[in-house]
């Protein structure tokens, strides 16, 4: 397409959101075990980039890759079945949502923070030699910026002029850690210092992401080397479903007493730090909770899907029709995924 088509981008994002709402429901019902990291809130970043990938392009994903798989065209039923741990899932039920792979799409995930950096660089090296014009995209969070292997990969991609787009989905949190206490310097200086092109974009605005990604992808396809795209976004559910900080805000009466009892006992214990140090410790513990309370993810205005939708309301009937169709589609995907295997 010549320009960003907001209708198709919205459809991609909304489809992904509805899929993940279903995942959330199935996880709450106990049909999906372990952790569950949803991409809700980062749909604009994923859609803006992935919608422009072509056959032969590769993707390196983190532990939060289901939206990218879905938007890349992986069968949603097999994706959902993978999360349900079924033998007919995308990876035979053996990978789970943090370890999704699709060789047909050259798409590989990893639960190791920062690992998408080396992976994308390797995919790009193969593209450079086997599929000229093809690119590799790495998705990772802002916390990964402190992982050596990611920084080393940016350097490697720059020095080898690899066709990589490094996409930082920056929601301002590394699980419960904020960048102020963990990341020194600035991201742009760091990335430019490694010799990569650096761009920032509002990751809540899908059209802006699309345009920024187009430049980065064209640059990579033309053999001009890697671009690092920083897209600020918001994780609507925190780090993962059932995230304690979010739970303690939604259900304080249920969650807080269990936390406060031991905390107060520890605070009053003899032997330990000075009163001043102890109070500073209390402030540190509650800083994370207070930051969550002020968190942007609590505001609907920061929902990228709703933002895109609000730009389409002038054609109310068309929008309504699309929404209904996508909702029906999502329900049908869940129903199909839950169906027993035919004997």
């Amino acid at each position: 397409m010549m320009g960003a088509d907001l209708w198709s981008l919205y459809a991609l994002m909304r489809r992904s959101r509805l899929f993940e709402v279903e995942v959330s429901r199935l996880w709450q019902a106990g049909l999906i075990s372990g952790e569950m990291h949803l991409g809700t809130g980062e749909e604009a970043v994923i859609a803006g980039v992935v919608s422009q990938l072509r056959p032969g392009d590769a993707m390196a994903l983190d532990h939060r890759g289901s939206a990218a798989f879905l938007m890349r065209g992986v069968d949603p039923i097999s994706l959902l079945r993978e999360m349900l741990g079924r033998g007919d899932g995308l990876c035979g039920g053996r990978g789970g949502h943090m370890h999704l792979f699709s060789p047909e799409h050259l798409a590989a995930s990893s639960g190791i923070v920062g690992a998408s950096g080396p992976t994308a660089s390797g995919f790009a090296l193969a593209a450079q030699q086997l599929r000229p014009g093809a690119v590799a995209v790495a998705f990772f969070g802002e916390g990964a910026l402190n992982q050596g292997m990611l920084m080393e990969s940016v350097n490697l991609a720059a020095v080898w002029r690899l066709p990589v787009v490094f996409v930082c989905k920056d929601d301002g949190w590394a699980i419960t850690t904020e960048p102020a206490s963990s990341t020194a310097g600035t991201m742009d200086e760091r990335v430019r210092g490694l010799g990569a092109e650096y761009q920032e974009v509002d990751g809540l605005e899908v059209e802006r992401v699309w345009h920024a990604a187009r430049q980065a992808l064209e640059r990579a396809r033309a053999g001009m080397g890697p671009t690092f795209l920083r897209a600020r976004c918001v994780h609507l559910e925190g780090h993962f479903l059932g995230f304690p900080l979010i739970r303690s805000l939604r259900e304080p009466l249920r969650e807080l007493p269990a936390m406060l009892g031991p905390l107060i006992r520890a605070l009053l214990q003899r032997k330990g730090g000075s009163l001043r140090e102890r109070l500073a410790g209390v402030r540190t513990v509650f800083a994370a909770s207070l930051a969550t309370l002020r968190d942007r993810r609590r505001h609907a205005a920061n929902d990228p899907v709703l933002r895109a939708r609000s730009a389409l309301t002038s054609q109310a009937a068309r929008l309504q029709e699309l929404d209904v169709r996508l909702e029906q589609e999502a329900a049908a995907i869940t129903a199909a995924a839950l169906q027993e295997v035919e004997a």
Partner: protein, 340 residues
């Protein structure tokens, strides 16, 4: 006697040691929240969060230990140790040998390990055999709250690097954080005796490298660590009903190994069944067979281990990890009885 949960016991023992020894510091990812009880007591200098930079902060922990601190470095999961392996493999483990014993790195690496809650093969490994393979590393795998606290005190007093592995199925807080996330719709097979138990009023150091016979028996010796000990004990009860008397030896420490207790326990029954949640090949299970064979003991041998990458699907995972039925079947085969 007090009763405590597994992780609570470790934190309590750690707090007691920190109150007595100002050199002990704790750091790792999200530690201000995960160890908030330690933070509000000991302050931000001694309890701190880190960037997601395992190779930097684990390597720094090793050197800080060489320079006088007693760091407890936390990893979110032992699986993530791959990122920081160099600090252990080529530095922590080597410094004592390179200096003919003149310099050591008394760092404690605390890491959750193990599976059984559906997190997939990159987040549920055990890896104690892999770590114990490296000369110079001490590897502890407690199976009860009392052992966990006592071994943490021992680890903090030890003069070299110690990997302290905390099984996630035994840790209520970790299992809640990673496995259930506030849900009541999921159920994991948690061994009750390992998850909560009696602990001493004051923590004393337990000897490192000392196994404990959890159950006496005359026909076969089951040897394990961590959650495997509880699976073996459950299997031993079932075997008892079938006329097979099974002993259960809890190694508690993978490196160093209590070879004397191992050989004595196997010599007594003439049969060794290793229950090891770690990978089967080139690991603890083979090492135990080699030690007993080298001692000249006449014995029969079998093992129930994790043979391949742990599958995500819960039903497959339960089969991949050593379970009670696999242990029972292997034990019956080893004693010559036919499994029904």
């Amino acid at each position: 006697m007090r009763s405590m949960r597994f992780t609570e016991a470790i934190d309590d023992a750690l707090a007691q040691a920190m109150a007595r020894d100002a050199r002990i510091v704790v750091f790792g990812e999200d530690v201000p929240l995960l160890r908030r009880d330690l933070l509000v007591r000991f302050g931000r200098e001694r309890v701190r969060g880190t960037p997601i930079s395992e190779s930097a902060f684990l390597g720094a922990g090793v050197a800080a230990a060489m320079a006088g601190l007693r760091p407890v470095v936390e990893l979110y999961m032992v699986d993530f140790i791959g990122v920081a392996m160099d600090a252990l493999l080529n530095h922590a483990a080597k410094v004592k040998a390179f200096t003919a014993g003149k310099w050591t790195a008394p760092v404690v690496v605390r890491a959750p390990c193990g599976g059984g809650y559906g997190d997939g093969g990159q987040h549920e490994q055990s890896l104690w055999g892999w770590l114990a393979h490296i000369p110079g590393l001490t590897v502890l795998v407690p199976s009860t709250p009392a052992d966990a606290g006592g071994l943490m005190v021992a680890a903090l007093q030890h003069d070299g690097p110690v990997i302290f592995l905390e099984h996630k199925l035994l840790s209520e807080s970790l299992l809640e954080f990673l496995g259930s996330g506030g849900r009541h719709t999921v159920h994991y097979d948690v061994p009750a005796e390992g998850a909560r138990g009696p602990v001493p009023a004051t923590w004393e150091s337990l000897p490192i490298g000392r196994a404990l016979l959890r159950r006496a028996g005359t026909d076969i010796t089951l040897v394990s660590v961590g959650v495997g000990v509880h699976r073996a004990l459950q299997a031993a009860v079932l075997l008892g009903r079938e006329g097979v008397s099974a002993a259960v030896l809890d190694l508690r420490s993978v490196a160093p190994l209590d070879t004397a207790a191992l050989c004595e326990a196997v010599a007594g029954t003439g049969r060794l069944l290793v229950v090891d949640e770690d990978y089967e090949g080139f690991g603890l299970s083979g090492e135990l067979a080699a030690i007993v064979a080298q001692a000249g003991i006449d014995f029969r041998y079998a093992r129930v281990c994790t043979q391949a990458t742990i599958p995500y699907a819960r039903s497959l995972e339960d089969q991949a990890l050593p379970n009670v039925e696999r242990i029972r079947t292997a034990a019956l085969a080893l004693v010559g009885a036919r499994a029904p």
